[in-house]
Each structure stands twice: as C-alpha cells, then as structure tokens.
Amino acid sequence: MDLSVQIGPLRLKNPVMTASGTFGYGLEFADYLDLNALGAIVVKGLSLQPRPGNAPPRIYETAAGMLNAIGLQNVGVEEFVTTKLPALRQYDTPIIANALGNTIEEYTEVCRVLAHTEGIAAVEINVSCPNVKEGGIHFATEPAQTGRVTEAVRRVMGDMPLIVKLSPNVTHIVPFARACRAAGADAVSLVNTFVGIAIDLDTMRPRLSNLTGGLSGPAIKPLAQRLVWEVCRDVDIPVIGIGGIMNATDALEYMALGAVAVQVGTANFIRPDAARQIVAGMADFCAARGITRLENFIGAFLRRETS
C-alpha cells in the first residue's frame, strides 16, 4: 500500500506532518515515536533574532479546544541551524522550517539562511500569527500583501519548495490562495488558529496576558474544513489541511475535501505519538477500503460533489 503524496516538488512517504509550534524542534518527541514514521516535521517558527514570547498566562483550555498566545518564542534561525538541526539530520523525514518576520526583509533574510542550509527540505512561511503585534498578521489580511511577501521569499529560495500558511481570520480565503499561487508558492497550508478571547467573569480579567489568542483543537475542525474545501474547489494549488485533527478519520476527511497532506497540531500535546497513530490509522483505512494508492483518494468528496 502506497501512502506517499506529492506537495509541489516535495515527495512525502505519507501525508502526515506535524504542525509548527506543536512539535518543538522535533527532538522533544523522539522518545515517544519514530520520527522516521512521519511524512514531514514542521518545526517551531523561526525569526531572524531570538524572541522571548509573551508573558504568562499563555494558554487556556476552552470547549473542545485551547487558546494560545505564545508569542512566537523561538531561538532564532541561526541558533536553530547550529544547535537543533544537526541532530534532526539523522532522520530521513523531511524537515520543514517555519519562517516568520515583522517585515518583508526579515522574512527574506530568514528564508535565505534556510534555503542555503543542508537538511531543510522546504520552508513554510507564517504570514498569519495572531498573537504578536507585528507577527506578520498584516501580511495575512490583504491578498496583495500576502502575494508581496510570498514573491519576495520565492526570489531568495531558489529551488526549495515554499509553503505559505494562511490565516483563517479573513472574509474570503480564496483570493489569498490565488495570490500565493501567482507569487510562486508550491502549496498553502490551511489554516492557522482562529483568533479568540476568554475572560474570567469574577475578576473581569482576560484568561491570557495577550488578551486574545489562537484557537485550536477539535472545536475548529468544521471551520477549517470549510476553508480547505473552498480553496481545493477553486484554486489549483496543493493544500495542506490543518485544524483539530485528532485521529485518522479527521485527517482523511481533510484529504477527501482535497487536501494533499495534513498537519497534526494540538493532538501532539495530548498523545505525543498522535501523528504516528494517525499514519497507522490511514493505512488501516486504505486496507479496509481496498485503496492501494492513498493519492487516488485525495478529493474523493469533491469528485462526488461534482459528479
């Protein structure tokens, strides 16, 4: 049975990736699962300089989900390349670096470093972090801005595959995906977290020091799937589905809606081997349905819809 999928120029042995910010720099999970079993590992977002992140409290659990406002705490791209990446190179799972910045120049500087680093298979740019004032979110609110940053990054990336991670906090998602395609992105990942707020009625204080945070977990799955479905239907670009994937069924729903791959996020917090279990569950599904190539299953719902 063949679980492999193609994301632009990138071939993955299976469609299950770990979402940025939920899997550390990968090695934190090596005790819990065989990292070689994953389709790809997307590491914590990297900026040009290290960032301290937001003050606590940073997370708050809500109904079937969690709000987070970590604030892009990270060691910086140089530190990642020198101290974290070498140990990751022993695995034959593609490492996808997630890049972020406040300005187009910062995005291009980070991506320039990554594009020239051995052991990085692709870069995913985060144009959509909701939790820092200058976290790139302004690049996510207008398709033209998303296009500008994508184009600038594309120019410094050479042949390296480029994925753009989009924000769901927009009125229409399709123009953003189109802008990414036009600017030369190889894929889009949908979606980052939904902006939310939670308050304490007794103290009238916010639950997060940042006031608002990004909502993830099963609560957002139908919202995220709607956005994935819209882009897959209307835009000719590979889509990586993200949002509330807890098991193989959730992941396969995204693929039926047209996603070529998926990212597992919050589930990693609950069961560190969740992504591995999802790969196993996909194989079981294929065996039970007589599917020999999972790639042929992609878009099964869309085809049914149009037939």
Binding site: T22, E28, E61, M66, M246, N268
Partner: protein, 271 residues
C-alpha cells in the same frame, strides 16, 4: 518518560474535595523520583474532545506492589474544575492515559543534610514523597499549613511518612497551631543552619518562604505549577520568568521545572 494507558487500581475520596488516585505502571514507577509529575489524560481509549488537554499532577508516592520493584504510582488531586472532576470519577479497573514521569526533581539530599519541608494544601504531594523516600535516613521536619483543617487532606497519613517532626498550622486554628505555615520558620531555620528547604504550595506561601530563607543560612527549592499544554516542553504554554545570572528568561515549568532553586523565581510576576 512514557505515555501509556495504565489501569487505575484504587480511588479514595478524602475530605475537602481531595482524592487519592492509584495506578499500576511498573515501567513508569521505576523512573519516578520526588518532584516528578505526570500528565493525566481526560478519558480512556480514544481522544476525548472536551475536556481536551491532559492535567499535570504531582506524584504523591510510589510503592511496590510486591516486595521487590515499584509498581504503584499515587496521586493526590484536588477537585478544582472539569478535568479534575472527571479524574475524580475514575474507579479501580478503569484505564487512564498516564504520561510521565516528567520534569525536574528535588535533589537527593546528602546524608548529613537537614531537610525542612514546607507545604500548603495540595502542595503537600511532592513533599510527602520526599518524606517517604528520605525520612528513614535523614533528619527531616515538615511544616504543613492551610486555611482550615479541610485544606490538610493528608494529615491522617502523615504518620506513615516516618517524619519525627510534623508541625501543622491552620489560619482558623481548626488543626494544629493557629497561624500561617511560614510563621515558625525564621526561628526554626535560625536554630538549624545549613538546612535545605523544599517547598510546594500557593505562590504567596512560597514567596514568603523565599523571603525568609534569603536572610538565613538555608538553601531553598520550590515546586512551581501552571496550566500546561503538553508537559514535555513543546507548546511553551507553561513558562515563567526565571532569573539566570543577570538575565531573566522565559523558562518552561514542565521541562526546566517544576522544581527550581528559590532564588531563581521572580515572585513579582502575578499570573
């Protein structure tokens, strides 16, 4: 550390909304030391979507099921919200997702060291474990306090720790002496120079302990807590500002903690 489903072997409700949960897990028990915590899952074989995240719970004790190897892990839990309420409904025979042991531990005291434990409320759990581990070989004392007798869920079990000196304090005088757990400390520490102090409880209590130990010849370790996402260092949700030399860094309670040197904590931060 391991993440696995293990059987619940005992559940006992104590007063004041506290309960004692026991699981059978030889593989994990073999690794447990005082100060460790586990992330306990919300429900059983499949993911429960709501509540979603595992709950960080300190280890109370680790005991052998037979006469050779440790196998039973004990937790003292206070019912405080939806997650702990679900845990309180577990019964012997249920399976529980158990991820751990996690975090840093209280340092193993040197043989001649005098160890003073200062606990408040449910913060007694890791200190009880210290007492069980080291009371036979070390000169130890426990100061244990709460608002009222119902905030001292373990007082009935304290004789099992083998501690020779146990000083109970309650703010309303319903058990032990009347007063704050920190009140007798300055005098006690002054007459026991060079002691190590291990503390766990409300932040305000640990802050008061830190203020006292800063002025005497004593070394303080504290066990901190916070809401946690993953427990293994990935989500960066549980950080607190920790003083490292002349810098303050955002440090993960689940990984670099929960046990820290007292002087590393910036107590001014309120959250």
């Amino acid at each position: 550390m391991l993440c696995m489903e293990v059987p619940v072997t005992d559940m006992q409700h104590v007063n004041g909304g506290y309960f004692l949960l026991q699981v059978h897990s030889p593989a994990q028990a073999a690794l447990v030391r005082p100060g460790h915590f586990f992330m306990l899952g919300m429900q059983h074989a499949d993911f429960s979507a709501d509540p979603l995240l595992n709950r960080p719970i300190s280890v109370l004790d680790c005991t052998p099921d037979d006469h050779t190897a440790p196998a039973a892990i004990h937790f003292l839990i206070k019912e405080a919200g939806r997650g702990t309420r679900l845990l309180s409904r577990l019964r012997a025979g249920d399976n529980l997702l158990c991820h751990g042991p996690l975090g840093t531990t209280f340092p193993e005291p040197s043989p001649e060291c005098r160890l003073i434990l200062v606990g408040g409320g449910v913060g007694i759990a890791p200190l009880y474990f210290c007492a069980r581990r080291w009371s036979a070989t070390h000169d130890m004392a426990l100061f244990y306090g709460g608002r009222s007798v119902t905030d001292l869920p373990l007082q009935g079990l304290l004789p099992q720790t083998g501690l020779r000196e146990v000083i109970l304090l309650t703010e309303d005088g319903s058990a032990g002496r009347r007063g704050l757990v920190t009140e007798p400390l300055p005098e006690y520490l002054a007459s026991n120079p060079g002691a190590k102090v291990y503390s766990c409880g409300p932040n305000a209590m640990m802050e008061a302990v830190a203020r006292i130990t800063a002025h005497v010849d004593a070394q303080l370790w504290v066990s901190m807590e916070n809401r946690m996402g993953c427990g293994l260092g990935a989500c960066l949700g549980c950080v607190l500002p920790v003083i490292e030399g002349d810098k303050t860094a955002m440090v993960r309670i689940c990984k670099e903690g929960p046990v820290f040197r007292g002087e590393q904590i910036d107590w001014k931060i309120r959250y």
